[in-house]
């Protein structure tokens, strides 16, 4: 695959999959703007290796794994880029957020990052355990245990449980 083909393939991939990636990123980060950053950062990191990614045949797995690693990297590093200011030049516009989104995102954010990622990949992106393991860079057994623990926690989350009861009439 030459450079032009790689670039064309990358463009096609981004156009086709950006929505899916961003939705997962939204739930991984709990923040729409941060989700944009995450997907964008992951794509930037993936682009130089895109020819190899294509050869492997499953670009989604590689991009998801890059997203997870990028997000983990953000958490590890101490935030040093901000400059405190005594006066804000303007105020942010209020964010409109649906109750469902707020409740689900809140419950997910209370999970540890790996459990959250496992839940998002398994139940939002509908990945198999093997695919989720590839995305997280761990074994299938770890995915099973992380998912199980995450579901146990979510079942005990009162806000999410209340929402799901309203949605479905009962927990299944």
């Amino acid at each position: 695959m030459n450079g032009q083909q790689v670039e064309a393939d990358f463009r096609a991939y981004v156009i086709a999959r950006q929505g899916v990636l961003r939705r997962a990123a939204c739930l991984l980060t709990g923040d729409a703007a941060l989700a944009d950053d995450l997907v964008q950062s992951a794509l930037i990191r993936c682009w130089p290796r895109w020819s190899r990614v294509c050869v492997r045949g499953d670009p989604d797995a590689y991009v998801r794994r890059t997203m997870v690693n990028t997000l983990a990297g953000w958490r590890r590093r101490r935030w040093t880029a901000e400059v405190p200011s005594e006066r804000l030049p303007d105020q942010p516009a209020p964010q409109v957020e649906s109750e469902v989104r707020a409740t689900v995102a809140g419950a997910l954010l209370r999970l540890p990052p790996r459990q959250r990622a496992a839940v998002v990949f398994r139940f939002l992106d509908d990945l198999s355990e093997q695919q989720t393991a590839d995305a997280l860079g761990c074994s299938v057994g770890t995915v099973k245990s992380q998912t199980s623990r995450a579901l146990a926690r979510l079942r005990q989350d009162p806000t999410l449980t209340a929402l799901l009861l309203v949605e479905d009439g009962a927990l299944t």
């Binding site: 923040d31 703007a33 941060l34 030049p89 469902v100 989104r101 409740t103 689900v104 839940v119």
Partner: protein, 245 residues
């Protein structure tokens, strides 16, 4: 629970508007990142760049930062202005002074480029609620959370001179200071006194079509500059504007 949870997750993100990514910008940013790494750009050298942009209120944040970054790139010796990548990003002020309510993040446009030596130059522009555009101009090689968040360290409103960052506002040691303001269009050079050091900065004008006859200056000063004063000079070396705190 899994089916119910799946539906809840789908619903939670179902009405989320997706603005398409600019693939060109992503590719450009990736190339810049590679060049930067090849150049070994993450040394903590202070960088001094200056920017004079004609214009009052930039009509569009993305256009504004693109124009500004192009001018910075020219000032820094970059030949190819197309190396400037403008990406979506996030402006974050969650660590403002104690006791104040932190503002949420807001979308921003981020321009990134590198100097020939690989030093990164990053700017951010966003639309304020009063309709004006703002530009931020951080430079913290090796101190940032990610490439795309380099921009969050500084911001100023182009409608007036503002100084942010540095020890003046209690920022962390090593933070860059940035200066924003307006100057007469006749200004061709800027003489900046930062501490005991004086810099002569060239004027660089933007070719942005929407800019009018006002001139703005954005100067990034070396780490540790305690006192700042500047004089704007015309082509005959006359002082036509002065700022002395």
């Amino acid at each position: 629970m899994s089916d119910t949870l799946s539906r809840a997750l789908q619903r939670a993100v179902a009405d989320d508007p997706v603005t398409p990514f600019d693939v060109d910008a992503v590719i450009a940013a990736a190339r810049l990142r590679r060049r930067r790494r090849q150049a070994g750009a993450l040394s903590a050298m202070p960088v001094l760049v200056a920017l004079l942009i004609a214009g009052s209120v930039l009509p569009n944040a993305a256009d504004g930062v693109r124009a500004a970054a192009g001018a910075v790139a020219a000032a820094a010796g970059l030949q190819n202005k197309s190396d400037v990548a403008v990406l979506r990003g996030r402006f974050d002020r969650t660590s403002i002074a104690d006791g104040q309510e932190p503002a949420a993040t807001r979308p921003a446009e981020v321009a990134r480029t590198v100097t020939p030596s690989g030093q990164p130059i990053v700017m951010v522009g966003y639309r304020a609620q009063d309709g004006s555009s703002c530009l931020g101009f951080p430079q913290l090689p090796g101190q940032t959370r990610s490439d795309l968040e380099l921009f969050a360290s500084a911001c100023g409103n182009l409608n007036g001179l503002a100084i942010s960052g540095g020890s003046e506002t209690g920022a962390a040691p090593g933070a860059a200071r940035s200066v924003f303001g307006s100057l007469p269009r006749a200004a061709t050079r800027l003489r900046v006194t930062a501490g005991s050091v004086r810099y002569h900065l060239p004027a660089t004008t933007s070719d942005h079509p929407d800019l009018d006859d006002r001139v703005y200056v954005v100067a990034l000063l070396p780490v540790g500059a305690e006192q700042l004063a500047y004089e704007a000079l015309d082509e005959d070396d006359n002082v036509i504007a002065r700022q002395d705190p």
